[in-house]
């Protein structure tokens, strides 16, 4: 019986944690209070369910207990402050019925975590904690920061949400396009964080959250575009590293290792997104990713799409990708000229590895070696560093006639 009950608590928690937290933040307007209340409700369930029995609606039971616990805490806090006339907390907190009837507030939770008034690094950390259920320790490892620093960052963000009047709502229509871009940006950042390591958990979480946003906002082509983009990148993940964790470039990848299910799912989503017309940046990126899983890659279309991206969402990284695609079509000299015109990417290792590759193809070996060395020194991921060191060595040894640093840059 007791095992059954704790299994029941665990199941409800695992399945509904995000929804319960979202509902409680919505009802209480306070992140930390909501988290503590949910913890308390779970530990009460662990104590009480074995003795009586598992309630008919465990979800509603946990929410109600959490709400009442939070109300108690608010009351005590107000009483402790002074004998001051203060409005009873009930007036600011939802009723039990309102709370249980609230419906799915997960989208509000995501928008709140990704609010542009929060520090950029706090947005992805908060999303991973509140929406994905990562622990602070896991997130700290992901972002290569100390756990205490990360915990402080999370607390600061939660208090700002409470104190600065950041509402717990999907933003109004006129703010939605920009805010959705922000949410998708956070999810893509989480995905790309996970892209440099063989471990799949971050990528899978970003995909899961992306699918959730796309399912909750079916009329937003960019949300579908992002999911398609992530699927198409993810489809190659088994082929991107050797069994020893060494990086494998697109041209050298074993295509039989590509996940055809993910490719098909990504293509279908992309079709759907394209039907909306006037594609945004994520849809364009997804089309480019789709071209990369074709054999051979149609580089002139890739170059044209990057040019289109430069028109709608210009960034130095898009400029770099455009330059690499142009090099594939018009030759390394044309690509090099474009790369040398890019401002603001001097400390980006992929700029230097792309330069090195073009210099190598132009047989300007000493310059190529120097550029590989610079790329190596700037690269953070061990796999990238090993790969670049290998390139440097083989070039120093003899002029290899191998394929360009494609896909485009990774």
């Amino acid at each position: 019986m007791s095992d059954l009950a704790s299994a029941a608590v665990e199941q409800v928690y695992r399945q509904h944690r995000t929804r319960m937290l979202a509902a409680l933040v919505r009802a209480l307007g306070d992140f930390e209070l909501a988290e503590d209340a949910l913890q308390e409700a779970c530990s009460q369930a662990l104590r009480k369910w074995p003795r009586s029995q598992v309630p008919d609606d465990p979800f509603a039971w946990l929410l109600t207990v959490a709400r009442n616990h939070a109300l108690d805490r608010l009351r005590h806090a107000r009483m402790a402050r002074a004998k001051l006339p203060a409005p009873p907390p009930e007036t600011t907190v939802m009723s039990e019925k309102q709370l249980v009837d609230l419906g799915d507030e997960r989208l509000s939770l995501i928008f709140t975590c990704c609010h542009p008034a929060l520090a950029e690094d706090a947005r992805s950390a908060l999303t991973l904690q509140a929406v994905a259920g990562f622990t602070a320790a896991q997130i700290a490892r992901t972002f290569l920061v100390a756990e205490t620093a990360l915990a402080q960052r999370l607390v600061r963000a939660k208090r700002k949400i409470r104190d600065a009047g950041i509402t717990f709502e999907v933003p109004a229509d006129h703010l939605l396009p920009e805010r959705l871009r922000g949410v998708l940006g956070v999810l893509y950042l989480i995905f790309t964080r996970g892209y440099t390591v063989p471990d799949a958990s971050l990528r899978q979480e970003a995909l899961r959250l992306g699918k959730l946003v796309a399912a909750l906002m079916p009329d937003e082509p960019e949300a579908h575009g992002l999911v398609a983009l992530m699927l198409l990148h993810d489809s190659r993940s088994a082929a991107r590293f050797t069994s020893d964790g060494e990086l494998v470039l697109l041209d050298d990848q074993d295509r039989s290792l590509w996940n055809t299910g993910e490719i098909a799912e990504g293509m279908a989503l992309l079709d759907r997104a394209l039907r909306f017309g006037s594609p945004g940046p994520y849809v364009l990126h997804a089309v480019i990713a789709a071209l990369h899983v074709q054999d051979p890659v149609d580089w002139s279309r890739v170059a044209a799409l990057y040019a289109e991206l430069l028109a709608v969402a210009p960034t130095p990284v898009v400029e770099l990708n455009h330059a690499v695609a142009v090099a594939m079509v018009d030759g390394p000299e044309a690509g090099l000229a474009l790369i040398d015109g890019i401002a603001g990417l001097d400390s980006y290792h992929l700029l230097h590895s792309a330069r090195a590759d073009l210099l190598r193809r132009l047989d300007r070996r000493p310059e190529a070696v120097a550029a590989y060395r610079l790329a190596h020194d700037l690269a953070v991921s061990p796999a990238d560093r090993r790969f670049l060191a290998g390139r440097m060595r083989s070039l120093e040894a003899k002029c290899h006639n191998d394929s360009p640093g494609a896909e485009n840059l990774r």
């Binding site: 001051l84 609010h115 008034a117 009047g165 109004a172």
Partner: protein
């Protein structure tokens, strides 16, 4: 919820008689009208230049006066709005509409705090 908009870096605003004065005055007044239309306007004023500032500190019970602003930064507080907004989103939307921001000013948006027992304040 009340928000204070602290407007920095708008020291060289055009004076009466300058070429752009009328244009900017029209825009600033239109902004206040928009705030009133939303029921958000509480107060808003420009401050005289930082050269008129006197800083007061009390040390060992005695006032110590200093000519000049509190912080020797190059971005000075030049004015403020106090607005009653629905939430931070509305405040940020209005901050973006502050005309001074379109002439190089920086707007710091700060929520007004509630302190139990405080016998004054707008909140």
């Amino acid at each position: 919820m009340h928000y204070m908009f602290l407007i920095y870096n708008c020291e060289d605003r055009p004076q009466h008689g300058d070429q752009r004065f009328e244009e900017i005055l029209t825009r600033v007044n239109a902004f206040a009208d928009e705030c009133r239309r939303r029921g958000a306007f509480v107060a808003g004023d420009p401050l005289k230049p930082v050269s008129t500032a006197t800083t007061v500190r009390v040390r060992d019970g005695k006032p110590v006066l200093t000519d000049g602003p509190f912080a020797e930064t190059h971005e000075h507080l030049g004015g403020y709005y106090l607005l009653n907004c629905r939430d931070l989103d509305e405040a940020l939307e209005l901050a973006e509409m502050v005309p001074q921001a379109h002439y190089g000013a920086t707007i710091e948006v700060r929520p007004v705090d509630h302190i139990p027992g405080l016998n004054h304040g707008v909140a």
